[in-house]
């Protein structure tokens, strides 16, 4: 009995202390994007493509590297940039760079981001590259991806060499002044330095699992 009373002396302050934590302001994590030079994370994790094929980033990568695009079906920004998706995939192919697009919107799988929705989008838009489902947004989390579209380009050693935007004009491919990603792919293909290495653009926040 005395032992139990003694235990309570430890447990009560602990419970009280923990309950106080609930009143502290919660500082939400600001995602840290993968740093330039970092290795591609979770490159051996299997993801399912719209074709039903199981892929890994390692397997999709080609001799000169890998392009990863976090994208989705429901974002208007993706819709605006989508006319550049196939030409960029073609350019990557010509430069011996593999391409995969990952859908990280786990929180919207019943709101237009299911595998079935992805298959329909891939067919409708005639995607000429892999479009795989990022289950529970694990890859997006590991990459520090925050929005769609969000670009990550890796070199032959799977080290990050470019991160950010496709270009500087979502609204019009014709009026692009700085085709950041195309330039990065071309430079990576011939072993030239990439500049800028990071850029920013607006996009739809990733719908994380609840």
């Amino acid at each position: 009995m005395r032992d139990k009373t003694k235990q309570l002396w430890y447990v009560i302050p602990l419970i009280f202390g923990m309950s106080l934590l609930a009143f502290l302001p919660v500082r939400e994590k600001v995602a840290d994007e993968l740093e330039i030079g970092s290795k591609a994370p979770l490159a051996d994790v299997k993801v399912e493509d719209v074709s039903g094929k199981m892929l890994t980033l390692d397997k999709v990568a080609k001799g000169n590297g890998l392009l990863v695009n976090f994208s989705c079906n429901t974002c208007p920004w993706v819709a605006r940039w989508e006319d550049r998706y196939n030409p960029i995939a073609q350019l990557a192919k010509e430069n011996n760079i593999g391409v995969i697009m990952l859908n990280p919107n786990s929180g919207y799988r019943n709101r237009g981001e299911s595998m079935k929705d992805m298959q329909e989008r891939a067919k409708k838009s005639n995607y000429q590259f892999y479009y795989a489902l990022d289950k529970n947004s694990k890859l997006a989390e590991a990459f520090g991806a925050t929005h769609t579209p969000h670009i990550f380009l890796f070199d032959k050693d799977m080290k990050l060499v470019y991160r950010g935007a496709i270009d500087d004009n979502a609204n019009s491919a014709e009026n692009v002044e700085h085709p950041y990603l195309k330039n990065a792919i071309k430079n990576l293909g011939v072993g030239k330095e990439i500049n800028p290495q990071t850029t920013k653009s607006l996009g739809c926040t990733i719908k994380w699992p609840s």
Partner: protein
Amino acid sequence: MLYITKKLKILLLGLGLLTGALSSSATASGSVQADTLLKDVNPAELKQVIKSYQGSKVVLVNVWATWCAPCVEEFPEIVKLQRSYPDQLQVIFISADFPDSRDRALEFLKKQSINWTTYFKTGKDQPFIEAISPKWTGALPFTQIIAKDGSVVDSWEQKAGYDKFERYIKKALNQ
């Protein structure tokens, strides 16, 4: 006849000036005309707008768009906060809608009964993002809470509810 026409012109001019003055002096407690309800803003102007409240009010910057579901969901919560803290807080809404959706943004603001000036992003994304926060990666919605002394209390890229917004506003007010 000529005299009457001249008088009429003066009267109309006076009315025009009066309307302009009323619309430009609108505050959180008044009403605003369509042209001041949603004003075009470039990065330099935006910095100035935010800075203008330094020393007088806590600022909540919120970047939203009509096509952004989480933005539209949290928007009324932020409006409620502006109404709860009229003297201590200034909400600065910035629409990042595409230029061809400007009218849609304006309609949304009217439906939300917004009665203070909000802003419409112009120009390219990168300078706009950097003008607001170097920590912002570009995801929408984006919120930033700024204390009266101009220091950033916190910022985030996901949707939030009334309680979270209020918690950070109170934190800013106590700084």
